[in-house]
Subunit: 454 residues, 2 copies
């Protein structure tokens, strides 16, 4: 049989693999199968479509099935993978329109099935206008409902809830966020999480509520079967027109049961640095794979669009006979709430303690440019370093100033285990419109160094 | 004799040394001597004061002599150092008002005399309204003249000329820049230099001229002794109301003749990583010192406000008995011309070739955010790597988008000699308002890697 690459999944990682593989090899046969109608889109852009910063959802689509056809890549929409037989090198597919099942053979299989929202076990969860956000169709449904709504409730205090809170507030809704844990954005230390919550509340007083340590026990609805109320364990009854379940995601790997493809943490697919699974000829990329954390040296699962794209690219190079290694991640994330940038890289102080490091930290709040320049912003950085190795373990940054520039400076230093002593005198380019003479991220490093070494 | 630290120079490095030393040691006697009236100011902010983005020059002053007095640091203004006797541990000072000379003894001497503009040997250079820009008084003089002028000529195509060109254009002047070399911004490769020149010309067509390969041979003036014309070797006669000499600076070290303090490249003061000079008990910091280039492993001289501050801090720690090492620099610089950010780190492709590296490069032009987001900018990056070591030697970046964030990402990677293979999959935080899914700087690294490794 001539070489045939079958890709299961049409979000970001699968199409990226296909497109890169075609550039590497003009002749190899490539087929993409996806459950959805739309392929190759940026799910990360959906909150901004809902907010109405982006008007047309089609702008989120990178390539259409027709675009792929022009590259001689066949896209099969509305097709679900039911089973993988790694011995026969076949997959059992089902046409979601006709219901027909059929077999497809492959020489190389790429699993890129992504992740699915977790639906919590709450009474009346099937009422109308209770949404999850994952696909473009989800985005369209949420936006349509939002435009006729006055109130929204968000379950869960992760990034997606913060981003949708901005969208809803921007569109005039009264918004309530309910988080069962003691803080929103749980990857952050409590002080930074609290600062973000304070900013959110303070920005639109009276329009936004955040309840932590609060469990939702039931929804209630009207005669049309639409959600009208969210009921919490502490007895709160919150009237609403729509609910978003931002209560986490899980890897889409149930169909792999019995396939001998080894799963890892949280049932994500175990992959090596070349994106190979435990079975010869089977790769996995994107949100369905596990990730190696280069700070903790442990496997983790952090589904991210950027990782999906890098993994897809890397897998394609390897499938084409080249050599690409994806070493791992640093749990790098960033988002914003209106003007406030919110970012964390590596591990928090709390996590560093839990993992047995001997962490020390510094918090600095500074202008992002020379103080005498107009239009400066403020940034607050928390730099965490290990007392033993004197290297950086992580950084948290928030502010209406240029946070990203500082955060990014730290990333290769975490990876390269640059000593604090070296990092704190790093030659960052200086000019008054861009930074103070000594950059805030270097101030933070100087303070941590001083705390450790006296 | 009890310990007495004498600091010569009041720009950035000297006052920084004094302030940090006082924090480290509350009792040690500290005296600062400066030729100027104003001390502890940001010379880098002067172009923005002239542009009138900053109205009051006092906002550029970090600390006044009175502020220092409160910290028990004595500031002596209008005092020039004529000679250093390292055997006696004395300096000969001259009061610039009375003309009186006197001797001051020290236990530790810190030389922070900065740099002075180079005055080119051109006929009639002493005409009025021919300026250099170094001190606050220079800035005030230039601004006052600019406000009554219609035309300006800038000699030299370095950062200061680009920044003053923005200032003058913003204030409605007709501006001509004359550069004797074949390109402006000579530390950049020719392609990037040309792109900046094209941007400058294109932004205000008809208002700005740039002449390269052009030598100024004379100025001519009116009866009042004011400059009215700039005459070039090729026979151009350019009418003007003011001239700026942006023709370089040299370290202010003439007074060290006969002192046995060893000078290095371009007569800058040779210092080790602890900022000690060749003579026991004598430190030097800021624009008057040489710099170790961590990419080329050669000594160089790159006077920068950020380096001055870091050196001042580091020297103070060492004088106070602590331990601080300033390893060196990466020639990191950044500026802007209106919306265009202009930055270079490390070495250019041209310089890499000259130094015997085997350089390869990639140029990418990309949006700075996800393409579907509003208000994206464009950035163009040129990443230079060494074929032998597969490490990054430098990056040049220009654009109206977020350049600094990418530039800064590369800096610890240059320093840490991170392999391209590792760098190109770096886990940069991704969200549509901050970057595309694969950041342009990683695209650039992927392309260079591919060019080197096939």
């Amino acid at each position: 049989m001539s070489e045939k690459v079958v890709i299961i999944g049409g979000g970001a990682a699968g199409p990226k693999t296909a497109a890169k593989l075609r550039r590497e090899n003009p002749n190899i046969k490539i087929d993409i199968y996806t459950q959805e109608e739309i392929i190759s889109y940026s799910a990360c852009g959906l909150p901004y479509y809902i907010e109405n910063i982006i008007q047309n959802p089609e702008t989120l689509i990178m390539r259409t099935p027709e675009d792929f056809q022009k590259q001689n890549i066949d896209v099969h929409i509305k097709q679900q993978c039911l089973k993988v037989n790694t011995k026969d090198k076949t997959v059992i597919m089902q046409d979601l329109i006709s219901g027909n099942k059929y077999e497809v053979n492959y020489t190389t299989l790429v699993i890129a099935t992504g992740a699915t929202p977790v639906i919590p076990n709450i009474a009346n969860i099937n009422l109308k206008n209770i949404f999850t956000l994952r696909t473009i169709q989800d985005g369209i449904n949420i936006k349509n409902k939002m435009l006729e709504s006055k109130r929204a409730v968000l379950l869960g205090g992760g990034y997606i809830s913060v981003e949708l809170m901005e969208a809803f507030v921007h569109n005039g809704l009264q918004v309530t966020l309910i988080e069962k844990n003691s803080q929103i954005l749980k990857m952050f230390d409590e002080d930074f999480s609290q600062a973000v919550a304070d900013y959110i509340i303070g920005k639109n007083p009276g329009q936004v509520s955040i309840f932590t340590n609060e469990d939702v026990v039931a929804f209630s609805g009207n005669k049309k079967g639409e959600v009208t109320k969210v009921i919490t364990a502490s007895g709160k009854e919150i009237e609403t027109d729509l609910v978003i379940l931002g209560t986490g995601v899980r890897p889409n790997t149930d169909f792999l049961e019995g396939s001998n493809i080894k799963l890892g943490i949280y049932n994500s697919i175990k992959v090596d640095k070349t994106l190979k699974t435990s079975i010869q000829g089977v790769y996995a990329v994107g949100d369905c794979t596990d990730n190696y954390n280069l700070v903790t040296n442990r496997y983790t699962w952090v589904p991210m669009g950027s990782t999906a794209n890098k993994e897809g690219r890397c897998a394609a190079i390897n499938i084409a006979g080249g050599s690409c290694f994806f070493d791992g991640i640093l749990n790098s994330t960033i988002t914003k709430y209106f003007d406030l940038t919110i970012s964390i890289i590596g591990i928090s102080y709390k996590e560093a303690q839990e993992l047995g490091f001997q962490p020390e930290y510094a918090i600095v709040t500074k202008r992002d440019k020379a103080g005498y320049m107009p239009n400066t912003g403020t940034i607050t950085l928390k730099l965490i370093a290990d007392r033993n190795t004197q290297t950086i373990l992580g950084i948290q940054g928030i502010g209406d100033g240029e946070v990203n520039q500082r955060i990014n400076t730290v990333i290769p230093a975490i990876l390269g285990k640059t000593k604090l002593e070296t990092f704190m005198n790093l030659d960052l380019p200086y000019s008054p419109p861009y930074s103070p003479a000594i950059d805030p991220v270097l101030n933070a490093a100087q303070i941590v160094y001083h705390k450790i070494n006296g």
